[in-house]
């Protein structure tokens, strides 16, 4: 089911203030306040990881896009909670793996969300549902797990785009 976040052989070393962790140079983890205002720090956290691992621009854009859509969705559906949303970034083989964890969320499976009507005339087009649709279109693999108020969304995307 869940892959362990910290492999036993890896020593955890805090290299940054603000709770960001590098693990053996391959995994970074940080928690963010539940607000769209956190996006700037989310993006800068992701950019640090991309720089470390020489992630190309195409993959970087796609991953940033997916993280924003899923993060803002979690904020939107439970804005009053004080709990933070955690983000893990990891290189596994030739893939980047992103795990977004929310310990206070209602079940919402993005992999099963309905498709928006893309052919609708302008007056009927709306942005709702578009973000998740685009994430599914752009990211190689998305997994969703919900148990006891905790949602974990895992994104797996090839680095070789």
């Amino acid at each position: 089911m869940f892959k362990k976040i910290y492999p036993k052989r890896t020593k955890v070393t805090d290299l940054k203030s603000g709770g960001a962790f590098f693990l053996a140079g391959e995994l970074m983890q940080k928690s963010f306040r539940r607000s769209v205002k956190s996006l700037e720090s989310v993006f800068s956290f992701i950019a640090d990881f991309f720089r470390t691992h020489n992630v190309n621009d195409d993959v970087a854009f796609t991953v940033k896009f997916a993280v924003e859509e899923l993060f803002t969705n979690l904020v939107k559906y439970n804005p009053s909670s004080q709990s933070e949303i955690s983000l893990n970034l990891e290189i596994e083989g030739r893939n980047i793996v992103v795990r977004i964890t929310d310990t206070e969320s209602q079940p919402f499976d993005p992999t099963k969300s309905p498709e928006p009507d893309l052919q609708a005339p302008l007056e009927k087009r709306r942005a709702g549902g578009l973000g998740i649709f685009l994430v599914k279109r752009m990211i190689d693999r998305i997994e969703y797990h919900h148990t006891d108020k905790m949602s974990t969304i895992t994104l797996v995307h090839s680095l070789e785009k």
């Binding site: 621009d57 854009f61 896009f65 859509e69 007056e123 578009l130």
Partner: protein, 94 residues
């Protein structure tokens, strides 16, 4: 961050990132446009669905009076997002 400026020709220039944290500001800036206009994406690095929502709302409002936005100079990533969302059906994209 996002910066929106209008030049002397009436061309709207987007610069930076149009994400959910900038959507409110962008809505405010685009609400000042009342006639057909070109929106230049040359210096826009990134857009998310929140940004698409801002543009849809502006286009709907303008179309009611027979006006509309023409989008130009998108980078490849943003162009892909617009293509996947089929925004080519609702905007003129150069």
């Amino acid at each position: 961050m996002l910066k929106i400026t209008v030049d002397s020709q009436g061309v709207v220039h987007l610069q930076g990132r149009l994400d959910a944290s900038q959507a409110e500001e962008a809505t405010k800036a685009l609400s000042k446009i009342t006639k057909s206009a070109v929106v230049d994406f040359a210096e826009l690095d990134y857009i998310s669905s929140a940004g698409l929502g801002v543009l849809i709302a502006a286009q709907k409002r303008l179309k009611e009076s027979g006006q509309g936005l023409t989008l130009t100079n998108m980078n490849n990533h943003i162009r892909d997002v617009f293509r996947y969302a089929r925004f080519d059906l609702i905007f003129k994209i150069n």
